[in-house]
């Protein structure tokens, strides 16, 4: 398959769909499914029947506003989400009215305005197809320009060209650390080995984070395309997607996507009529948070116990079975096709000086609009929470937002005006992490928050290194006593010391960052800890 074949395929698809000019798009991603999207979809299909040949009911991916699900969008075929009539909290009983509205006035009682800031203030790159295309349709992806970036890279660019575009784009790893993607790719590319691997880390485990799930459920081909471009750039012929088994829908859609891509010659041997070969395989995580750590993840793929090992050597030098390995997160790979398509310079024009592009955030906790958003790096936290997120429901006051999950920290109200990027969050004692944001209102106890995350780290510690294994357990027991107003000042001092030791001495990122929620809540809400002391 070359660029012309791809264009033909897209044209054929458009022809086949020529008669259809209105679409009823039903979000069939996991969160809408859990609020009943499947019966809605079935009802809509049954209701439409053969009545309106120019209209089609289509299952699509995430539209973002999960708290209003099931979401149904009625739109012209080429329209995006904002150009559609969006319905919220749809039930199967609404099917008749919605189908009737396809060529009539909208159903006002179900309307969810798409000009509200939640939609209007977003800028979509990673999620550009989410909620619009059918994730199970290969042709649907091709019709919106999918795989063109891969074919272009293979036919018109050398691996060095690809590396340059990615480096120029300034893209940094979206999994948490923010390591420059171009640098990582170049390092693996320079390794002299003949066997190299690409791994997509889809073991998203932070509580309150669901960006990767939504991407995989909404636009799986985009991730595969990004991986294929990466494999071409670094010289790998084998790739793995490591997905947690708790994401069955994502796994299913990914499997379908891999199968279809392979059947169409976009994976397998001689991709795009070149000498480039790539096999992509899925590996399922069995529920251990630590397997999101790259060395533990690789051990797990190798069939070993999912435990981290000391770095260096880094995976770029010695990864899977000792071979140079490139590991990136789902969202990182999802950014690749647009970068190759539009150029690194274009990508670098978005965002802040040191953090380029957009970032997908999962808004959770006590916030009006729970769901998924994509905004340019540098958007202020206040915009994200108060404007896009719609603020705190029930007239309560905002207290703090936890970013970076159990490895991150909280940001209190006085820092709401910070422009969110990798470096600004670090100066506040937290981190970008994979993009989960848990919003807390004035009723939340920060000691409880710290205890919750410590319990998470304690139960997810793999048990390999001593500080993380036993330190988290000791810190949790002190936090537990604090929460019950039983702890002494001496214990509080011990907690702070344990935080330092565990942070400085743990083997992997899980342990090194486990004290962060404690340190950060102590930094901003010390008074709450003091108030909980039992001996004052």
């Amino acid at each position: 398959m070359n660029l012309d074949d791809l264009a033909d395929l897209a044209e054929k698809y458009r022809e086949a769909e020529a008669g259809v000019d209105r679409e009823v798009r039903v979000c069939l991603a996991a969160s809408c499914q859990s609020s009943g999207a499947v019966p809605v979809f079935d009802a809509l299909v049954a209701e439409l029947g053969d009545a309106k040949p120019s209209c089609k009911v289509k299952g699509v991916g995430c539209m973002g506003l999960c708290s209003a699900g099931p979401l149904v969008a009625v739109a012209d075929r080429e329209a995006d989400l904002q150009g559609s009539v969006l319905y919220r909290d749809v039930t199967a009983d609404d099917a008749r009215e919605i189908i009737a509205s396809v060529d009539g006035p909208p159903v006002e009682r179900l309307r969810c305005p798409t000009d509200q800031p939640f939609f209007a203030r977003q800028q979509k790159i990673v999620l550009e197809n989410a909620g619009i295309i059918d994730p199970d349709s290969f042709k649907g992806y091709v019709a919106v320009g999918g795989y063109a970036a891969l074919i272009r890279a293979l036919s018109e660019m050398t691996p060095a060209d690809v590396l340059r575009e990615v480096t120029d784009s300034g893209l940094r790893g979206r999994g948490g650390g923010g390591y420059p993607t171009g640098l990582k790719w170049s390092t693996v590319a320079k390794m002299p080995a003949t066997q190299k691997y690409v791994i997509c880390n889809a073991d998203e485990g932070d509580p309150g984070a669901f960006m990767d799930r939504a991407i995989l459920e909404s636009d799986p081909h985009r991730v595969i395309e990004g991986m294929a471009i990466a494999a071409y750039a670094i010289g790998a012929n084998k790739a793995y997607v490591y997905v947690r088994a708790e994401y069955p829908l994502a796994v299913e859609r990914l499997q379908t996507a891999i199968r279809k891509a392979k059947r169409s010659g976009l994976l397998g041997n001689k991709i795009g009529d070149t000498q480039f070969n790539l096999e992509v395989e899925i590996r399922l995580g069995a529920g251990a948070f630590v397997c999101g750590e790259e060395t533990a993840l690789m051990a797990s793929i190798e069939g070993l116990r999912g435990q981290p090992r000391p770095r260096p050597p880094y995976p770029a030098e010695s990864g899977l079975w000792g071979h140079p390995t490139l590991i990136n997160n789902v969202e990182t790979f999802a950014n690749i096709a647009p970068i190759v398509r539009e150029g690194g310079e274009w990508f670098a024009s978005i965002g802040t000086e040191r953090s380029k592009g957009t970032k997908v955030f999962a808004l959770a906790g006590t916030i009006t609009n729970t769901g998924l958003i994509e905004v340019p790096m540098g958007t202020s936290l206040r915009d994200i929470i108060e404007v896009i997120g719609g603020g705190i429901p029930g007239g309560k006051a905002f207290k703090a937002v936890q970013t970076g999950g159990p490895s991150g920290g909280c940001i209190p109200a006085q820092h709401l005006d910070i422009a969110v990027d990798y470096d600004s969050l670090k100066t506040l004692g937290t981190m970008m992490g994979s993009g989960g944001m848990i919003v807390m209102d004035e009723t939340s106890s920060m000691v409880d928050v710290a205890r919750y995350f410590m319990e998470f780290c304690m139960t997810e510690s793999c048990g390999k290194c001593i500080p993380c294994r036993t330190g988290t357990q000791q810190m949790h027991s002190i936090l537990d006593r604090l929460a019950k107003s039983q702890a002494t000042r001496a214990e509080l001092a011990l907690l702070e010391e344990l935080c330092e030791v565990v942070q400085a001495t743990s083997l992997c990122g899980l342990g090194q960052t486990a004290p962060n929620p404690v340190l950060s809540t102590m930094r901003y809400f010390r008074d709450e800890y003091e108030a909980k002391l039992g001996d004052t």
């Binding site: 000391p310 997810e460 510690s461 793999c462 048990g463 294994r469 011990l494 030791v501």
Partner: protein, 243 residues
């Protein structure tokens, strides 16, 4: 049989450890160079002859220009390194780590068969641990006495995995492994069967000898009677994995 020659083409580098200028082969780790030069570095999971595990974190050292501490066992030397092995900060961390170990399981030295010959006990003394500030975890684990020659007491296990590694890498039986998560991890034989029912155990006893504490001991030993001999290990390791 003469030992195989070390591989050629390895450069020699110079580095500074605790103010001493030393030379080392580029393929050596910091801990190897320290041991060579009688610079004491505490460790529990590291054992010459076994693969590097990097889990006890006691051998962490400070490297000038590097924010993070480095495990001496898993870090190779490099030209010009400036290393500190025994700063006040490192001493404090080591003390805390040893305390955490004592609090995790039920290490009662006075009634232990390894009393006086235990690496954990020595470590506590060396690191100045004269009491444990954190509360004891008080978890109870069973003792496996099903093997006719040996005994396993989880209460004295520090999960260093020396037994797992020696069984896999030297004996080649891979009877031992680890199950569970966090502090509930346990070393197991075969698929968590009683040791005496293991199909793979060859009863060679290497695991007992390399165990740093009284977790793996010979049957019939009483308080302080279990003395371990690890001299076989480097010799066997060189035979198994000629360099």
């Amino acid at each position: 049989m003469p030992l195989p020659a070390k591989q050629p083409n390895v450069r020699v580098v110079t580095l500074n450890i605790d103010g001493r200028d030393l030379s080392a082969r580029e393929d050596e780790t910091i801990i190897e160079v320290c041991r060579e030069n009688q610079i004491p570095i505490p460790s529990l999971c590291y054992l010459e002859g076994l693969s590097v595990w990097g889990a006890c974190r006691l051998c962490l050292v400070e490297l000038a220009g590097q924010g993070r501490l480095l495990a001496a066992c898993s870090t190779r030397v490099a030209e010009g390194m400036q290393i500190q092995t025994n700063t006040e900060r490192l001493q404090r961390y080591r003390r805390t780590i040893v305390e955490l170990l004592f609090a995790e399981r039920n290490h009662v030295c006075s009634v232990c068969v390894s009393n006086g010959h235990c690496e954990l006990q020595h470590m506590a003394q060396k690191c100045g641990v004269d009491h444990v500030r954190v509360p004891y975890r008080q978890a109870s684990y069973p003792v496996d006495s099903s093997h006719e020659m040996f005994r396993l007491d989880h209460d004295r296990c520090i999960l260093c995995t020396r037994c797992v590694r020696v069984c896999d890498e030297i004996e080649g039986a891979h009877t031992w492994d680890v199950m569970g998560r966090g502090s509930d991890c346990r070393v197991i034989t075969d698929m968590a069967q009683p040791w005496g029912e293991s199909d793979t155990c060859t009863s060679c006893g290497k695991c007992v000898q390399v165990c740093p504490t009284g977790a793996l001991v010979k049957q019939g030993t009483s308080v302080g009677e279990m003395v371990k001999d690890q001299h076989f290990l480097p010799i066997l390791a060189r035979r198994r994995h000629p360099q």
